[in-house]
Every structure is written in C-alpha cells, then in structure tokens.
Symmetry: C2
Subunit: 199 residues, 2 copies
C-alpha cells in the first residue's frame, strides 16, 4: 500500500532495537484518511470471504478496525487488555506477552459477541512476534468461529510473527512489510515482491 | 440523537449503582455505522468552530473520535492512560481518577501534537464525573491551545460532570443525556428539552 509506505518513509522514526515509532499517524496521533484507506484495502483483500465480524485489540487497533468494519458492513469487537468492572462474567480470556512492554496481559472478549460459525477478520496495527494475533485467534477458535484472516497495517518481517502465523495456517495480509530497521533506516520487503502481493 | 437513544433503549443494560452497560455497540463491540453518525453529528454541532484537532482518550473514545476527525478533516490524537516505552519524553501528563475502576491514571499526550493556538475538540464515549474531560482540557491548555468544545456520546446527567464542565466555561454537546437509571430503567433528559438542544 503505497500511501502507507510513504507515510512510514516520511514520518516513521527508527528508535533502535527494532522499534519503529509511527505515533504521528498510527498509534498516538492518527490520520483518519489513512485509516479509511487501510479499511478499504483490507476490504478489497478479504472481499468474498463472508466476514461477519472484525476483531482487534485495544488501543491502536481500534481505528483501523472500525474503518475496516465500516467498509465490510459488520460490527467491530475490540479485545480488552485487562478485565474491567463491567466485564467480569462470560468472557474468553487468553494470555498475551508484550515484548515491547515486557509484561503479560490477559486479553478478554465477551462470549456473547462471537457465535459459533462466524467468520472473523483479525485486524491489528503491528505484527512483530505475533503474540497478540495468536491470542485473538485462540479466542475466535474458543468460540467455535473461524479466522478468515489477519490484516496487519505494518509487519516487521524481520521478526517471526508473520512466518509463525502462516505456518499455523492463517492467511496474513500486511499492508506494509518492513525487512529491516538496521542503522536507523527503514528497508521494505522488496518492491517487486510487494507488487506481486498487491496483485 | 434519535438513533443513539434507540440503541440505548434496545441494547443498554442497567447494572445498578449508576452503571449503564452499552458493550454491544459502544465500548466493546462497536457499531461502525452508529460511530459514523456520531462523527457526523459532532461535526454538524461544531461546524464553523475552526477545529484543528480532535482529542480523545483510549480506548472507547477512539472509534467516535476517528469518525469525528474524518468528518472534520483533521487528525485525531488519543491520550494514553499510562506511559509506553516509546512515549517517554516531551509529554504532557495529567492525573485522572476513574470512579468506575477506582484508580488514578496518568494520561499523557506527546507535546509535538498540540501546537499553541490550535482549536481542539475533545470527544469521549461517556461523561459522568468529568474527570477524563477535565484532564484532557488541562492538557490542551498546557499546550497553549484552546478547547473548542467537548463532545460526549452518552452523558449521565445525574452525575456532576456536565454541570461542572459548563460552569468552568466549556461548551458540552452530549448526543444522549440520561436523567436516571433508577430501578433498572433508563430515563432520558426530557424529550422536549432535547428537541430544543437538537434544534
């Protein structure tokens, strides 16, 4: 997705140790037009997959998630990272480790929002080690629903998440794939390969 | 806003002690069409106010916030409830007490995203005691920017937040105002008054 790649080039900041800061358009300040285009692109890629729900995780997944849900004309669910007082019963719980924050969170989804047989599209802002995506997928499967695919805004392809998810049989669609952040420079998975993926 | 009021009537669950659960369309599962209408309604109400940014707080404010930002054609910023590893310097910090969760959070916004002179619309899902809205307003003012208004999806008018914010000089626009949750029944601030406000 060229618009997104250009944003990463223009506004992304490499912080070292594999961290790409994109807080000007994706995970602190957000560009609503870019989010709408992200939603449209996921919808193009998963058209015909009979998706019934979009599932994401708070907080940075919500904006791309709601735009995707709007385009697909289905509800969005966002998993919570800890139990809230009004969400204590009848929930699916999975443990997810965050390498960035160096802590484990319990992620929760209310059972009443995923019915057996549903086709769920998982959407998230980043894919690195795949912990969050695997946790969300386990929740979908606990519900007796199926994972139609995993839509990622930015994949750090030098980390194992994408590979592990595909090996586990999931379809992963990443709008931008980063090959390396070495020496403070963002390198993308090569253009030719991306063109093929973009079809 | 009739569509929203109907959703509250059809799907809201009164949990007692002043808690209204709306997790089927607003703060766990989300209805993207309703969120778009919320964004459009805030935009109608604040048209001509020369808003340059929308500011909200994670997590449930993000969906109405991004839809409002899309309609107003400005960026959205969401305040974080705790410092993340990639957001440690040059931030505004305010302490906010959550009566629901019975805990204080530090809410943070990166200084680079609010410039002096900006006109900021604060958007949030709920207004009860006004703690979050006041915290966000203090951040806007710390930045030398001004609060154009405060847009609330559901105001619990039997709690003091709305009154306190208006007394402090802020313009508050709530799309639905709940007068009471007594005996498990949702009562709205009376129709006639709302029609005038909607006028």
């Amino acid at each position: 997705m060229k618009l997104l790649r250009q944003k990463v080039i223009n506004e992304g900041i490499v912080l070292g140790s594999g961290v790409l800061k994109v807080d000007s358009f994706l995970n602190h300040q957000m560009d609503p037009f870019l989010m709408r285009e992200v939603g449209r692109e996921f919808t193009r890629r998963f058209a015909g997959d009979e998706i019934t729900k979009v599932l994401t995780i708070e907080s940075s997944g919500i904006a791309p998630g709601i735009m995707t849900a709007l385009e697909l004309e289905v509800p969005l669910i966002f998993a919570r990272k800890q139990k809230s007082l009004t969400l204590t019963e009848d929930i699916y719980v999975e443990k997810v480790y965050s390498f960035t924050k160096k802590e484990s969170n319990e992620i929760t989804v209310s059972k009443k929002f995923i019915a057996p047989g549903e086709r769920v599209l998982i959407v998230d802002d980043f894919l690195a080690n795949g912990e969050a995506a695997f946790g969300l997928a386990r929740i979908v499967e606990q519900a007796g629903a199926s994972v139609a695919g995993i839509g990622i805004v930015i994949e750090k392809s030098f980390q194992p998440g994408g590979r592990l998810l595909q090996k586990a049989g999931y379809r992963v669609e990443s709008l931008v794939r980063i090959a390396s952040l070495e020496d403070g420079v963002v390198s993308f998975v090569d253009d030719e390969e991306e063109e093929v993926l973009l079809g």
